[in-house]
Symmetry: D2
Subunit: 335 residues, 4 copies
């Protein structure tokens, strides 16, 4: 299978390295508008062709599949052109910069019977895979809350705000773990750069069954925080992605509520117990992404983060955007 | 000065111990409805009188000042009675369980010329005092964001939700550090106990100048988190109250925004530098609270957390409550 | 049972508090040469008698048992006098300042049929109790190494070096966990105070079966370290006493050695697995010490840290002292 | 400059990557006895020649300098042959497996006027460079102690024990920072593998001025520890190499000793102050090693870890080996 890569900036080199390592994939050409980046590429991988024009890849007869690792506002036009040219597409998250664009791509991919996959890398990490198994096994019980913080001194984006930039990670993890969409979305943010693009954002999602999910994202933090707390009615999980080896901790911690009707009071029995730190796979997540993409093309399997999954992430981002514009008022998904 | 203490549950013993240690204060009587607690008290402090009736203290001619360390819904009736009886009052946070009650107490204290002080203990910690000095010196620059998380497996309260229980800590720190009220308040929460009392809550405050403050509170967390991030346009602060000795960290970290008008792009220069961990006082905060209260009575000074300060905390809680009831919509303070 | 306490400096108040809380113990008198300390005591516990002369306690007909919480060089004369006066004795660690003195006390206690117990507090911690159970259950396997570090900016002692001051903690834990004495002891240290009293010390013990134990102690460290690594041939334990709640961690980590005789090479299969953090009791250790002492007097039971146990700790310290004086050469225990 | 690399196991690929990145170095050939490793190399760097015979490199006319990244027992024969063939040599640490071999190589390099450099990588880290500057500036004061722990579940070596394997890191840091050799060396260890090769080792060095240095190394630890405490009479440093960004911490902590002659007592004034975490360079250390080697060849400069520096490390290891064989007795360096 011949692969072309469009975009060799921050993430492109990582995808490229993992594509090269895949036995069934052959990367033949990489496009980037920046000649210096292409020169660096040439030094390490002299056999790969380079071009400054993405259309060279999209229109190439030789290419079966295209990786799009470019800024978000280019996802739709590039992916659309690639799908129209009959290529399979792996696009960086989020799928597109607007709900309409995302829906258009999903429809086009289905019409063209091409694989359209979004690189929601975190789904493929050992940590998230371990948590998914724990939840699916019933060990954690009914999920009551999901609280995720993703802070660092991050690169300010010019075309999207911090919610569109960072929250896709948390939203993809949330949707993968709980497997369903929330009912209400609220979002608030602040911009300190004068261009009205939020660099701090807070996103809350509420579910019909009382579950609440909260995502805090920031490009303006002196410390890097990537922590997710998941509480079930049996056990609780803390997932700290900055931990080198102990990313997932399972707490035998909880409480049981008893209502004393006569005294009209609430009694709560607290339970504090052992902590378990399961070993998680250290396989590079992007390797899993690449394998899932190649397998979907070769065997027609459904990738974890397929186009419809990516669309759901954009649906929440779109609702968040609408909430942001009305001072944080709740946005309800049509059921 | 003769002191009476009403309430000998969780916090009462701590206030009592610090009152006893104060050279100018003499605790003569303690009231609690629970006889067992009073027995424990008697064992350690045989010289202190005990009673199960708070009125014994309120109506006592011998008592100059009263500490109220009881559930929130009793703050207003007890403090009101004490002020009417001519006593000075130190009441646990929050000042009262509703805005109307809080306003009533403030008016009554002013009318009666009695000290009414709220025990916002955190203002008196070495850490918050250090941060206050750092901010006032200008070293941090203009504050852009305040992000506070206060999570633990906490005691579920029956008369107030988690916002009224835990957020007063963060709100008092915020108001003390920045010295002014926000313009907009949003709040969202979730209850998992069937009594509609939120055990997880998120509170966002926005200021006219673009500053954003966010407070996350939870009674349902396997890990104890008490972390506040404060970002200024010069430096940033991380205040972690769970750290035994290194509670305050100052980061020479930041960014400078340049707008390239021609290219209509945003350029940001990032700055990552040294970290400084100032030594903070390890004096028990409650000792400072007690000293501030006694001094206010003796010398007419104004306590850090006086009645009007405590009222501002309740104003935000009241706005949060109203936002909660409308699905998180923004509540604007009349200016 | 009537108790007298000699010494109300650093540790005395803690023992006193726990003695007072014990239902079967009544502390009637406390001795200390420092009048100010006695004044502080009187303020909190007005019912307890005080004296500046330890002999008032030793010679009192009313006293059944005596706690000795004084500097090490006074342990022998005070405990000797107390035993001769027919009192039971609980003495701070180490039992005495020399092997000869320790042996004398053990012999005297046995002759007088009095309880002589050493306050090796750590044996009574939830953490050490948990580790003891883990080792005794066989889960850890054969112990191969014990590595303990106890560093802080500690009070420099004038009558004993850092090995005699801090290592008794580690030695008591070691002896309790493995239940037998080493064969060889080596010790090296350094003094930076001009009085030839070592403030940094390293102690190594080797056992006949290949097990090695190492203890590093220092009064001169900017950070407090209290970490013990125990490796067995099945699992490994890390005991970090500075952790507030997660003191004991059990690692499913290890290796299996295979020798390939033909290739004369060593092959090692490494095993890295889950980590388990058992909940440990948070009961105050000194409470257990006091209970063990009172029970031994009342019922004739054998305390965990009885006189012979305390003597073994002193035996190792004595050997360490001799090694120190010969530049760290090994000292062999007569078998 | 044409470079040949002998050994493409654990460390070889890292050196290779940094050599390739150097503008003045051209890696033309790599030797390894393992064909599979060479195949992996070919896949990423198809332009580099490979061979299974190190002599192909040593005897090549085209090669100017050779990197030796092979097991320790091969360092001497390979480096000797390379020097005799007129090549410059960069050899992994330690320089050689015995003092005699190390001395032979140093003499040969000087005779042949070739650069012989040892890859003591840690000297080139941002952390060690920062500490070196702090010490040289006088800010830390006179160094009193150096305590280094290097533990992990490490690869058991078959030709050297854990002291020869891991301690060279700590010894090179020590020698670089304090700039002089100790007077006494003691070493103790234990082997649990049946081949009498120690997998746990303790090394103590004492200096004439009272400074003490201690190095603990282990291949058998469930946790990775790389911590060095350096105490001066003004300030103290904690260097934790497992910290991702905050590797060096400077403590304004200390004590001042006063002797009260009359009372024959020691008084110590303790000082606890701020902590400073200087930003350290994140440049890859191996890049600095490669630059130092290339510069030494091109310009005749002296590398930080030149042959004589590497020889001093081996001198201490040799003394440690002799101490090990006499049960830890001190070995004195001839002055």
């Amino acid at each position: 299978m011949k692969i072309g890569v469009i975009g060799y900036g921050y993430w492109g080199p990582n995808v490229l390295r993992n594509m090269i390592a895949h036995t069934d994939a052959h990367v033949s050409v990489v496009a980037d508008q920046n000649m210096e980046r292409l020169a660096v590429l040439k030094k390490t991988y002299p056999a790969i062709q380079t071009t400054t024009d993405a259309l060279d890849i999209i229109n190439s007869k030789d290419i079966d599949a295209i990786v799009i690792a470019t800024p978000v506002h280019t996802h739709h036009p590039l992916a659309r052109a690639a799908l129209l040219a009959g290529k399979h597409v792996l696009v960086e998250k989020p799928l597109a910069g607007s709900l309409q664009d995302a829906e258009d791509l999903v429809a086009l991919a289905e019409e063209k019977h091409r694989v359209l996959m979004v690189d929601h890398t975190f789904l493929y990490t050992g940590a998230v895979q371990t948590i998914k198994k724990l939840i699916d096994s019933g060990e954690i019980g009914k999920i009551q809350s999901f609280n995720s913080t993703r802070f660092n001194l991050g690169l300010f984006q010019s075309d999207i705000n911090v919610l569109w930039d960072l929250a896709p990670h948390d939203l993809s993890i949330l949707l993968y773990l709980v497997g369903r969409m929330p009912t209400f979305v609220n979002a608030i943010g602040a911009s300190h750069t004068g261009n009205a693009i939020e660099n701090i954002g807070y996103l809350t999602m509420r579910y019909d069954d009382g579950m609440i999910a909260h995502v805090s994202v920031s490009w303006v933090s002196p410390v890097k925080i990537r922590q997710t707390l998941i509480t079930g009615d049996k056990k609780m999980i803390v997932y700290d992605d900055t931990e080198p080896t102990e990313k997932v901790r399972v707490y035998e911690t909880g409480y049981t509520v008893r209502n004393d009707e006569e005294k009209r009071r609430l009694y709560t029995d607290y339970r504090s117990g052992d902590i378990h730190i399961p070993k998680t796979s250290t396989k590079e997540a992007l390797q899993g992404v690449v394998e899932d993409f190649v397998r979907a093309i070769q065997k027609g399997t459904q990738p974890l983060s397929d186009a419809r999954f990516g669309l759901n992430v954009v649906r929440i981002l779109d609702a968040a955007e609408r909430s942001l514009k009305t001072g944080g008022a709740e946005v309800r998904f049509a059921s």
